[in-house]
């Protein structure tokens, strides 16, 4: 068996694949953050809480209504998206004329409230959510055992990311969106309803977080704190990527998943910090981030 730095090549393949799977979550979450930031200029601190909410809605659909995973995959993002629309209309819309910092503070407060409410209602041990029967089991690849569900996560996340990118880059709707990001006043002058645009964008961005939550439910513990820790990592991903482009956030997400996967093999103790270390390095060399346009 051939070896790379003392690790069998085959095991390395396995770990890279796993890294890609983790990267899928980073990619969807940072994509949502990037879209919201691009148009609303708001760093959505509540993103992690809404990711958690997606997972919980999936659990509630199953427990209270009896609708399974596939329904949840469609409905949960919709529920989270609608919730986001309400948040944007009632609260966030009042802040557009103020400094960005207030957006950060408001969404931080919202995250505390949402997490607190779920904790009150459902405790913290987490809730069971099974892998759908169609996707249980796995494939015995030459280098590893790949659970079907993990393969599905990569496929689903890639599909969603590419579809989002296509909509933004290739459709008329996307053209308005990009234009509104550049110069909202001008776009409004052309008769486009910019406030509606902002609302829908926020709704869509958080729906992505809800979608990631449903994807995560069968493999991670469904508990009220699940979003709180991942959000800080995603922030670092966003800083590294630079939020200059939609595709940039997706690529950075997947790439950092890979890097993290490799770290887990060579130096597992550092795998939680490696993304932050990379962030520091990127800041030293390229302060605007890998895909950022200006500092």
């Amino acid at each position: 068996m051939s070896m790379i730095f003392g690790v069998p090549t085959q095991a390395l393949f396995g770990q890279l694949l796993l890294g890609l799977i983790n990267g899928s979550f980073y990619a969807i979450l940072s994509l949502g953050l990037a879209i919201i930031f691009g148009l609303l200029n708001i760093i959505n601190f509540a993103h992690g809480a809404l990711y958690m909410m997606g997972a919980f809605v999936a659990w509630m659909l199953l427990t209270y209504v009896g609708l399974g995973y596939w329904w949840a995959l469609g409905l949960a993002p919709l529920v989270v998206g609608i919730f986001g629309v309400v948040l944007e209309r009632v609260l966030i819309a009042r802040l557009y004329k103020l400094d960005h910092l207030y957006g950060l503070l408001l969404t931080f407060g919202l995250a505390l409230i949402i997490q607190g409410l779920f904790r009150n209602q459902y405790g913290v041990s987490g809730l069971p959510y099974a892998i759908p029967p169609e996707l249980s089991g796995g494939q015995r690849l030459p280098f590893m055992f790949l659970p079907n569900y993990r393969a599905w996560v990569v496929v689903a996340s890639l599909t969603v990311c590419i579809a989002t990118w296509l909509v933004i880059e290739k459709t008329k709707l996307g053209a308005y969106l990009r234009a509104a990001t550049e110069n909202p006043t001008l776009v409004q002058a052309f008769g486009v309803n910019v406030p509606l645009f902002l609302t829908l964008t926020y709704g869509f961005g958080v729906a992505l977080a809800g979608f990631a939550g449903v994807l995560a439910a069968p493999i991670y513990s469904v508990n009220p704190n699940m979003g709180a820790d991942i959000i800080i990592v995603v922030f670092a991903v966003v800083v590294i990527g630079g939020m200059g482009s939609i595709i940039g956030s997706v690529i950075t997400g997947f790439a950092l998943g890979l890097v993290e996967g490799l770290t887990k093999v060579f130096y597992p103790e550092a795998s939680a910090t490696v993304i932050f270390v990379i962030m520091v390095l990127v800041l030293l060399v390229k302060p605007a981030g890998l895909f950022g346009r200006t500092a």
């Binding site: 200029n41 760093i43 609260l91 009042r94 802040l95 557009y96 004329k97 103020l98 400094d99 960005h100 910092l101 207030y102 957006g103 950060l104 503070l105 408001l106 931080f108 407060g109 919202l110 995250a111 505390l112 409230i113 949402i114 997490q115 607190g116 409410l117 904790r119 009150n120 909202p184 006043t185 800080i232 922030f235 670092a236 966003v238 800083v239 103790e269 939680a272 910090t273 932050f276 270390v277 962030m279 520091v280 800041l283 030293l284 302060p287 500092a295």
Partner: protein, 328 residues
């Protein structure tokens, strides 16, 4: 789109320049605070008061950066917490006297401030906030894994020791005296910084960075300087807290601590001299007396955040300042 909007951090301080009679008012308030501090332990529980004072100093330090530097750090727990670890460690394991332990903790915070600050000031606005948050997270992981911090158990049973090797701090009243002195010194120092030429330049950079640069000021050096000052004073607060409570733990480096200090400053009024003190008083009191409500504490904190941002951006002291039309 918000790029065009003026940064309205500290609307009061910016709108009303400090005049001579304002300084007299401030002096009276300082004296008032000092008298209150002397009277308070007769009515209120000294340990609770010491906690309020430590957090008030922490919030004051944070406000120096946010209110006067215009920089929102979301990682101030790193300086507060690392200082408290170092202070607890030197006091317990190396047998330092309290004042030396506090100094070593404070110096650690200054060092961290210098390293993190020089990275973070490379970006502005929310990027700056996110970077400080991420760096603080690294400090958290370090504290969790390092041997000397005791992991999740923290450093416990830190001796209060004898001040200058002579005065015992074991009694709460003696300890309270020291905390009062530290707090007053920190507060007056911050007041001095704000009203010095250095503080004036800071405000100019906060309000319009390109203009300040075009006037020949090296904005980044000023920003770094205020960052380090703020981190150092946060460290002073953290070290003192470690001696008061005789422990240092992960709570102090966790990101929720960073959030809490933002909340204190916001509630009290950012960019006001006295706001953070009121904010710390409100939040610590809430935490102490709402402890029985369990999970509702975070929900209430979240609601306070939302309400402050939406309706109450001046904070308590900012509102009072607006009413009496004087900067506070």
């Amino acid at each position: 789109m918000a790029d065009t909007a003026a940064i309205d951090v500290a609307p009061i301080a910016a709108a009303l320049p400090t005049r001579r009679d304002d300084k007299a008012l401030h002096r009276m308030i300082f004296v008032g605070i000092a008298l209150l501090l002397i009277a308070a332990p007769m009515v209120l529980y000294p340990v609770y008061l010491m906690k309020v004072l430590c957090f008030a100093l922490f919030a004051l330090a944070f406000n120096l950066l946010l209110g006067y530097g215009g920089l929102l750090s979301f990682g101030h727990a790193a300086y507060f917490g690392m200082a408290s670890y170092l202070c607890a460690y030197t006091a317990k394991s190396l047998g330092f006297t309290p004042e030396l332990a506090i100094l070593s903790g404070t110096a650690t915070a200054a060092l961290f401030g210098l390293v993190f600050g020089s990275l973070a000031i490379r970006r502005q606005g929310i990027y700056f906030s996110m970077i400080t948050l991420a760096l603080a997270q690294m400090a958290f992981f370090f504290s969790l894994q390092a041997k000397f911090t005791g992991g999740e158990d923290g450093i416990q049973a830190v001796p209060r020791g004898n001040l200058f090797g002579v005065f015992s701090l074991a009694d709460d009243r003696a300890m309270y005296g020291l905390v009062c002195v530290v707090f007053m010194a920190g507060m007056l120092l911050i007041y001095r910084i704000i009203h010095s030429p250095f503080g004036q330049v800071l405000k100019a950079i906060r309000d319009n960075e390109p203009r300040a640069i075009s006037l020949g000021y090296r904005a980044n050096q000023y920003k770094l300087a205020v960052f380090v000052l703020s981190a150092t004073l946060a460290g002073l607060a953290g070290s003192t807290k470690a001696i008061v409570f005789q422990l240092a733990s992960l709570t102090d480096v966790h990101w929720s601590m960073s959030g809490e200090v933002v909340l204190m400053t916001l509630v009290g009024g950012m960019g006001t001299v006295f706001g953070p003190i009121v904010g710390a008083l409100v939040i610590v009191t809430m935490e102490t007396y709402l402890a029985q409500f369990g999970a509702w504490v975070t929900i209430i904190q979240g609601c306070v955040f939302v309400l402050c941002v939406l309706l109450f951006r001046e904070g308590i002291v900012g509102l009072v300042a607006k009413l009496i039309r004087k900067p506070l």
